[in-house]
Amino acid sequence: MSEIRTEELLIAVIARLLGPCRHVAVGASSPIPAAGAMLRRAQGDGRMTVNLLGSEAQNRFTSGGVELFDCAAQGRIDAFFLGGGQIDGQGNINLVGIGDYPDNKVRWPGSFGSAYLYHLVPNVILFREEHSRRVFVPKVDFVSAPGISGPEVNRPGGPKALLTGMALFDFDRARPGFRLRSVHPGYTLRDIEENTGFAFEHEADPETTEPPDPATLALIRGPIAAQLAETYPRFAERVFGSPAASAAE
């Protein structure tokens, strides 16, 4: 068994975060969350639904683009993934740009469905590999979607966790704020503090993120890599090489 790749660690962590979910949806261009969801499905009783937007093979929606959003509002989607060009300590996310709108110094693609799904999906996992003060800021310049809402707002959903290339955080909606759950192998609390622009709770000696066990790793490198290649052939090839070769490692 070769060394564990960062992508493999993240895939395993995501599968763990999805624990009891029955229906997980994954946005377009999200290979690691997609692989995490497929891994969790492979580990379960076979009845978990995974819908990858933009895929045909891994997508069971039949009512068009609106179905994801309706399905979320029905309470039928347990988990979704959001990213952000900026994420702040209140869980606010910014997918629009740096600086004052509309004269942004840096402009990103746009808010996608974040302003809606963040309100409606109970377990939103914030996923951003780059862990830097550029991304994790004290206050976002534009709120694509807010981390929390007042009691007058109908809001069954919100952030559950933040996963980066260095660490895993939980989000506490009551406080509100992030709490460091574990630091990935190879990083220290100091690394996290230096690269995070907002304050977060943490143990004095935080745990290390548990790497995937050999069985999980075999699952990732075998069937999950193969399934992923249907929708993300370029990602699958870059990370795993040819799925057949990986399965034989």
Binding site: A28, V96, G110, S111, S114, P146, V153
Partner: protein, 275 residues
């Protein structure tokens, strides 16, 4: 139009300058051959409504100066990176931007589909989108007992919906499979123009096993046959995207000059082999 079957240039000519034009997202059936025809005819002043996002199609139209207003939840080339002409246009403030969120675009189209002035929508409260979209309103839910804000978005009624689908039959019915956002677009729009891979002899209403995926002819105003009409994007269940062509575009369009060269060589001036 009494006869729905036209050629690509006639289809492009049926989209007037200044039209509010609805286009689908990259994986839903993008009319790229028709877009090249639009560029050739030099369309201008479009109000582009992306349902609910777009990629290379919007970026090319923006790059050629065809877009006055852009209403979208995102513009991105996905795995190929940011959309360079979009980014540049926002930097130079050369287009009017109406940032949205995906379900709000769907809700606006569904309002138009129902002849309604607005649709309520969950979420959005607390987003800065509410600040920059003064056409979105917040009211107090009239059915709630305690104060409960809810967002209303206005109807989006495109002048034209434009997309690419696998098949049409001789009666002008279009097979869109489970890409039902294309049906919503057609319902919402005043007119619908479609390109298809093939026009076939079978009657799509002859077999109930297949009717569920049909956009009926009475919503369709023009159909042009365009084999590989989504190229270089993929057409679900039909062909994959052309990675080399998309990479080349993403690289070339990083500069205005590179985009112009790309456009002269590949984007519009030289009709594709299939056109």
């Amino acid at each position: 139009m009494n006869e729905p079957f036209i050629d690509l240039d006639a289809l492009a000519a049926a989209i007037p300058d200044g039209a509010k034009l609805a286009i689908p997202t990259d994986y839903s059936g993008v009319a790229m051959a028709a877009t090249r025809a639009l560029v050739r005819r030099g369309v201008r002043d479009l109000h582009l409504v992306c349902v609910p996002t777009s990629g290379i199609q919007a970026d090319i139209l923006i790059g050629t100066g065809a877009v006055a207003t852009l209403e979208t939840s995102a513009i991105t080339l996905g795995e190929y990176g940011p959309a360079p002409r979009f980014t540049e246009a926002l930097k130079t403030r050369s287009i009017r931007m109406m940032d949205a969120t995906c379900p709000a675009v769907h809700a606006g189209l569904q309002a138009a589909e129902k002849g309604l002035p607005f649709m309520p929508i969950r979420g959005i409260l607390g987003s800065d989108l509410l600040t920059i979209r003064p056409d979105w309103r917040v009211i107090d839910d009239p059915f709630a007992e305690a104060p409960a804000p809810i967002v209303l978005v206005p109807a989006i009624r495109p002048d034209v919906a434009l997309f690419h689908a696998p098949l049409a039959d001789r009666a002008g019915n279009v097979w869109i499979g489970r890409r039902r956002e294309l049906i919503t677009m057609a319902h919402a729009a005043v007119r619908t123009l479609v390109t298809v891979e093939r026009i076939v002899d079978e009657d799509f209403f002859a077999d109930e096993m297949r009717t569920a995926g049909v956009l009926p002819s009475f919503y369709v105003d023009g159909i042009a046959e365009a084999p590989r009409g989504a190229w270089p994007l993929r057409l679900w269940s039909t062909y994959e995207e052309d990675e080399a062509a998309l990479s080349a575009y993403a690289a070339a369009a990083r500069s205005a000059e590179g985009f112009r060269v790309w456009l002269d060589n590949e984007g519009s001036a030289v009709p594709m082999a299939a056109e």
